[in-house]
Symmetry: D2
Subunit: 132 residues, 4 copies
Amino acid sequence: MESLTCIKVRYAETDQMGVVHHSVYAVYLEAARVDFLERAGLPYPQVEARGVYFPVVELGLTFRAPARFGEEVLVRTRLAGLSRRDLLFRYRVERDGILLAEGFTRHLCQVGGKAGRIPEDIYQALSVLHLG
Amino acid sequence: MESLTCIKVRYAETDQMGVVHHSVYAVYLEAARVDFLERAGLPYPQVEARGVYFPVVELGLTFRAPARFGEEVLVRTRLAGLSRRDLLFRYRVERDGILLAEGFTRHLCQVGGKAGRIPEDIYQALSVLHLG
Amino acid sequence: MESLTCIKVRYAETDQMGVVHHSVYAVYLEAARVDFLERAGLPYPQVEARGVYFPVVELGLTFRAPARFGEEVLVRTRLAGLSRRDLLFRYRVERDGILLAEGFTRHLCQVGGKAGRIPEDIYQALSVLHLG
Amino acid sequence: MESLTCIKVRYAETDQMGVVHHSVYAVYLEAARVDFLERAGLPYPQVEARGVYFPVVELGLTFRAPARFGEEVLVRTRLAGLSRRDLLFRYRVERDGILLAEGFTRHLCQVGGKAGRIPEDIYQALSVLHLG
């Protein structure tokens, strides 16, 4: 499965170069990831309510072209890797079919405040997305 | 005219109290204001492209109840004041009809880098919104 | 007592007008307030560790002149109001003696997740600062 | 040369997991990089004033342990790569000698709005830092 998330660039997200500040892309990826999980039937607020967290342990981003205030960017999100203990998401940020940035985030599973196995039902739900 | 802007709370916008950080509301109001202007036929990127800016010179916010990650909040925006040189917007931030915050922003008109009169066509367009 | 907090403007804090985005001032005031409390012997992390919170219930800011990337701004913080249940801080943001912005924040006391009385020892410590 | 930059974690930088949000590290690295350049006699505001920019084209971060509100973190910055057209910085974020995160940023040189060669005097100044 690939989910599509549309994000409208906010004024506050620009910097004095007149483009979206690079740190903001990490926030865009996160919004897209939350969207991905929600569409997959795993709303992240409910996951956290069970004491299960997927903190980011690695982040990679390559910037190809700038995004600007008022533009609508599209984030394509895929679950590119899955084990019993971690997840890998891959993202493409586009505007009108033009690639602006691509990246990944790797996440460990935390249960009750420490690294742990992904609960079985969540793992099964993610497996379907990973294959799809 | 009152415009309605729907905003989904991002994880990055929360703080360790588990609610949206108060500084983020200024960003929400701005997104709502940009939306208001766009619906009114005054897309802010085009306004700025003419060298016309409406920097915030005053900001007031009262917080009634917290917003949380994953919630959809609604911002109601009105143009509450208009003169030849400045603008006043008023906002209500709600969730399911519950008032979370209310506030205002006052803006001066800047043309070519200094305080100036609002260009006539923009002023006329805003006048309609102010009355409406 | 008035505390002085020096803040160096970060690139990420600017927007495409080439100045510090207005929402960032709320973050500056907060950093200055935390500093004020720490110098007063009330480190906020320790206050929170007791289950006592002072969420912002009102925020007001007036912007006089912009701050820019790389500049050092000085925030002057005073405890301007104190009751058994709330606090009022007033701030002046300056650069080289020039007033850039002034504002206030009002805070309610929350104990164990609901509005409550400020614990006596914290109230006494704040009283001294309020008079001073 | 390795520069050391001390950063005090702000409340606004935490998220509802009670730790610094991962996107904030990109802002920390940037503050550290600006510091590095300033200490090296290349204040970035002056570099930009000449129409020379070093936008981030790649960002990598690995997170080892969380940072929390009120903590002082130390960012160690090195210029790890230098060519006529790009730069590579490497960073370690520590607290009391414990590694919290490590990362890198790669930057292209932009002159007058397009990719270009690093001006000779800046290149020479950077070469010294690279060797050092």
